[in-house]
């Protein structure tokens, strides 16, 4: 009987492991496209977590379902189960395994984080990466209630669309003007809060040309949800072209969703709100935003 139990458990564990592995591989499809070098690392970590998590979940739920199906008391049965109060070796094992598991996950996450080399705004260090960024390629990101504006000081270009060259490390300086905003591009898997009064350096590497969404990720008041912008990642030549064309364009008032909506007569009853900032005046804006 004992041999049979071990065999059954082993088969169940292999089955659950196989399903978990499959779910872990599926997890790559749950994300937006992998458009930054960092996203590949993060998706891999997430896939590992999904695999382990599925195994634990299916194991626990499998045991519970088995108990519900096969260990119910009969309708007129009033006896008790076996009075087992615990099992010291088993309890040590199920303390040790989770401990080793989560510490392993933490170390693996640490390694991934180390590879990503995200620099938070409070780390104004002067490491190699920072010295390299003194090349004049920094892009200023301005967030205000409720508009994004991007400035390319070296090329004297301003825009409401963030353009980045593919396969080059991007250096951004994040500046919030009024309240805390969050700089978040899901396709890059990257996010950074922008604290008013603290310019933050932010770096990453886009690796896939395309058009993505930038969203405010830190709740910023009435028109928070409308505070989105497009991010265009393009080949270096196109990027330089865009900069040249934009620099030659006379600045004009861009469309701004929050401002437009505020000035529209609304038929819905609402409360008084902070007045949106005037739409940015920029060289380049995409009218379809």
């Amino acid at each position: 009987m004992k041999k049979q139990t071990i065999l059954t458990l082993a088969i169940a564990a292999i089955g659950i492991a196989a399903i978990s592995w499959w779910v872990g591989q599926e997890s790559y499809t749950w994300f937006p496209p992998q458009a930054s070098a960092e996203s590949i690392l993060i998706d891999r970590l997430f896939s590992v977590l999904v695999t382990i998590g599925s195994f634990v979940f299916l194991g626990v739920v499998g045991a519970l379902i088995y108990a519900v199906l096969f260990q119910q008391a009969g309708k007129y049965e009033s006896g008790d189960g076996p009075p087992i109060e615990g099992n010291i070796p088993l309890e040590i094992v199920w303390t040790a395994i989770p401990f080793v598991l989560v510490m392993g996950i933490a170390f693996y996450s640490y390694k991934i984080y180390d590879q990503m080399e995200i620099r938070g705004p409070m780390e104004h260090d002067h490491s190699a990466a920072m010295v390299m960024s003194g090349s004049g390629d920094e892009i200023e990101v301005i967030a205000k209630q409720w508009a994004w504006e991007f400035r390319y000081p070296a090329q004297k270009v301003t825009s409401t669309e963030l353009h980045l060259p593919v396969n080059q490390r991007a250096h951004l300086i994040l500046k919030a003007q009024d309240v805390i905003h969050g700089f978040y591009i899901p396709a890059f898997r990257l996010k950074q809060d922008m604290i008013p009064g603290q310019a933050g350096n932010f770096e990453f590497t886009p690796i896939l040309a395309g058009k993505y969404r930038l969203r405010d990720s830190q709740y910023s008041g009435t028109y928070f949800a409308a505070m989105q912008a497009n991010v265009v990642v393009e080949p270096a030549a196109d990027y330089q072209n865009w900069l040249r064309r934009s620099a030659a364009t006379t600045p004009a008032i861009a469309h701004n969703t929050a401002f437009a909506e505020y000035n529209q007569k609304s038929t819905r009853a609402g409360w008084k709100t902070i007045v949106p900032a005037a739409p940015p005046i920029v060289n380049y804006s995409n009218p379809n935003d």
Partner: protein
Amino acid sequence: MTNISIPEIDIDTNRSHEPEDWRRFFGFSTDHKVIGIQYIVTAFFFFLVGGVFAMIIRGELLTPESDLVDRTVYNAMFTMHGTVMLFLWTFPVLAGLANYLVPLMIGARDMAFPRLNAIAFWMIPIFGIVLIGSFLVPGGPAQSGWWSYPPVSLQNPSGNLINGQFLWLLAIVLSGISSILGAINIVTTIFRMRAPGMTWFRMPVFVWAVLSAQIIQLFGLPALTAGAVLLLCDLVAGTSFYDPAKGGDPVLFQHFFWFYSHPAVYVIILPVFGIFSELFPVYARKPLFGYKVVAVSSLIITGLSAVVWVHHMFASGTPGWMRMLFMFTTMLISVPTGIKVFAWVGTIWGGKLRLDTPMLFAMGGLVMFVFSGITGIMLAAVPVDIHVNNTYFVVGHFHYVIYGATVMGIYAALYHWFPKMTGRMYNEGLGKLHFALTFLGTNLNFFPMHPLGLQGMPRRVASYDPEFAFWNVIASLGGFLLGMSTLPFLVNIVGSWVQGKKVSANPWRAIGLEWLIASPPPHENFEELPIVVAEPYGYGMNEPLVSNADKL
């Protein structure tokens, strides 16, 4: 070991004139059982109010555009939804269960400070009225989310001194004071009022869990309450603790806020762990597996809960070393939690299961808790959190904790102790219908939030890109189903309270001091104080729990 003589005298002198009929539930009663039920019923009222707010939110999110209510109204809705659900439903209902059960479970005749107990309760309707009343002031209620992060919370478009944010902060400060009073009372009661023979390792795990949770209130709430007072000063008195325009630091508030508000999650979930630990042995007819380890793991969680708060701020401009440090502490807290989960599975395994409504809710809650624990570990991993922080993934995660595990656990407790509280049995068919609707609604409502968050939909948005519509529609339908699921519960509870079948002292054949006395228990619970002679979960062992059972 225990000191009972003084409170005993105190209770005897101020109890004799109280009415015994239904009117006592509407007055300033000092009976812990009356106060417990007052807490539970008041909290459930606010649960329905918060649920209406939630359905307005889900109504707005049925379509990508902001088209159901104005954006200011939407923002007020999610702010009030979160605030009401936490401060007026979850905390009070758990305080109510602790109030009702702890004195019975440890063999006391009342709480240590009965009048303080009543004062703590009556502050709840008062700050509830302050909070809901903010709908009537010009400018409407607070619209800065339940976190109330400055500078957004300091912006005051209406220009009035008495505005929604002001009333919100006032309500939070009152709530904090009420909870601190309650915590002092419960901790003192557990330390000082245990019956003869009720040693620490004969206490039911629910009592251990409540003790661990209330200790968190004592060290954590002062930080939030003080932080809220400073924010109030910034808002009305022109100080600049948090206002960056005047040299303040907005991130400081985040530290104050999360130093309490993360441990607050354990204030909520620990008593629910306690409920699971009480119920599984009863309905599996087996002792709780590894009782002492389960009991002590609550205290370990209390200790660790104080050093994990920065994991809410991984994207807030925290330096790398802080991110790593708090990732490790957060990972650690899953170990004592995992021990409990395995102990519950060990309890259920090999038992003689009875799937009555309380057991269904407890098992459903356990399954959803395991799910939320796994997404919780994902969120603790800094690189993953950087992506999903402040997205719907987090909203999905904590709703599985708060609804999937906590509300399910609370329902399980309400059904399980309903016969004790009322002396009548609820309707089993309606109970099972309630379970089915709740389990289905919870998963339909909150599972879709995970893919939405992974795809990059931020939380707190009134409008969203059309690509997110599919999962939002499912979530909204689940939300409406969840709203409807409360109806069979209300019908069942009200109907059964009035004309349910009368029950004996112990309809579940459960082991515990509360089951040795009549249903509902008499005024001062025990005729003679019980003399406890055994550990709490002696299922299948045929041993007496007390030596004077016939004299209680």
